[in-house]
Amino acid sequence: MATGMLLCDSLTKVYGDSKGKKALDSVSLGVTSHGIFSLIGMNGAGKTTLVRILATQLTPTDGRASVDGLDVIADARKIRERIACIPQEARTIPWMTPKQTVLSYLLWRGVSYGEASRKASEALAKVGLEKQENLLNRRLSGGTKRKVLVATVLSSDADIIFLDEPTTGLDPISRQELWTSLTGLAEHRFLILTTHYLEEAERLANVVGILHLGKLVGLGTLDQLRSTLKYQYSLMITSETDLPAVREGLVTRSRAGQTQVLTNESEAHEISLSLLEKGAKFAMSRVSLEDIFFHLVHGSSQEDSE
């Protein structure tokens, strides 16, 4: 078994009404890093199931899991003193104000009323909501409501925080603002973040876990995940350009008027020189998390179908 802040050993979850289909299928992982650990995967990949088990909301069917050495079943009460969670689809209660939302959450965590009131105002100010703290939640925009939820966990003394798809459905500006709040939150705490947005995971996470059909198909820093790929470089080339010969790399897919070539560093330089001579438009970069995700998920799907 691996060691670390988050540990899973052959963790399996089968829901009662799923006719034996495994939501999590023998997931084993160990995450030692602080900062942000992001879980990515398609719908139904098992991200929420894994987070709910680790956040002591859901009982696993088989295997073991622990948070900073505490077992999620045997030591659930101890874990709950150290964690805070914003579940998937969590919403602010419309008849409450942001301050009342944060204050009541702190009372649930055993903080005295006076201290909770002070901490609530501080946390709301940290996410830029000091002027809205006494407005009804129902009058706030979607992005602001999410910030209120972030403020609830920010206000607590929990050092491990679970955020299940906190930015889903937000506009780009609100998402950027929330990213800033999350980055601040991760300075002194360990965040476990699930997201559909690969760009979000790439930008925020220190370590990324990739789940597919209940299985863990990738885990590591971006560089570690890159190293699992045969090709490390990506060339995005406009489709009207005549593609130079690709000897070692792979022409992977066409997207919105562009062709992508995945290849090694030397061939990437050769192709880019050739394209420069032709005056073609292209972009060269190291492979992104999106490339890694497609490679690992596609590879995993192919293995499953074989």
Partner: protein, 246 residues
């Protein structure tokens, strides 16, 4: 202990005080439901059943307070994911439910205050009778709270949950002879009425204030049923309610 009190306070604030403060119109609903039956029964009986109707109002208020808990907890759990947030915190299910249940009582305070004034005017219960009434109403409340909490933890859909809440309230506090003596309904239906613990509650309350006369055996049997049902529902809540999902 202090932390427990704060956890209870949080539930009270979220489920009643903040809602009453920010949406005062919700109070009207809790007043109108028990009082509307009281008014109808009083008018139809030309005032003869006002005592039974007042006691029925108390029973309905207490029972509905517990059953409202089911709808409210389901709403908070399914629509706002509040239960999951609270599960992943040091709060215990006991503190959470105690606070939520107290919140329902606080909601009912306007109705209970009106009923108390009416009881003082029309029933004049003495100290012992008042204690007996209080015991009956409390058992009704505790039993329905336990049932409400258990059902809420199984619910995954608020529409279904509110429908259940209304159905159970109707079955136990409107259909049985709570607002009038059981002798007012035809004999075959009385057997069905005795399937509801609220029938025993109403009979004990009516007997305590001299509105009907029960034998000592019937009184003991009635109390036994009330205590047993409440205990059973409490045990079911402890054993079967889902705090952490299975």
């Amino acid at each position: 202990m202090r932390a427990w009190g704060r956890e209870v306070l949080a539930s009270v604030l979220v489920n009643s005080i903040y809602e009453m403060k920010n949406y005062p119109v919700v109070l009207l609903n809790t007043v109108l439901a028990p009082l509307s039956f009281l008014i109808v029964i009083t008018f139809v009986s030309k005032g003869q059943l006002i005592g039974e109707a007042i006691e029925g109002g108390f029973i309905m208020s207490m029972f509905q307070s517990g059953m409202s808990l089911q709808g409210d907890l389901s709403h908070l759990k399914n629509d706002f994911k509040l239960q999951d947030m609270v599960v992943s915190s040091p709060t215990t299910p006991g503190a959470y439910v105690t606070g939520m249940a107290l919140a329902e009582i606080i909601y009912s305070i306007p109705a209970l205050a009106v009923l108390t004034v009416l009881a003082a005017i029309y029933i004049h219960p003495g100290a012992l009778e008042s204690l007996e009434l209080l015991g009956v109403f409390l058992l009704m409340f505790l039993g329905s709270v336990a049932m409400g909490f258990t059902l809420s933890t199984f619910s995954s859909d608020i529409v279904q949950s509110f429908a259940f809440s209304r159905l159970i309230s109707t079955l136990f506090s409107t259909l049985p002879p709570v607002y009038y003596p059981i002798t007012y309904i035809p004999l075959p239906f009385r057997y069905a009425a005795y399937l509801s613990p609220t029938t025993y509650a109403a009979e004990i309350a009516q007997n305590a204030t001299g509105l009907i006369q029960l034998s000592a055996t019937d009184i003991i049997f009635g109390w036994t049923i009330l205590v047993a049902v409440s205990l059973f529902l409490f045990l079911i809540a402890v054993k079967k309610a889902r705090w952490r999902d299975p």
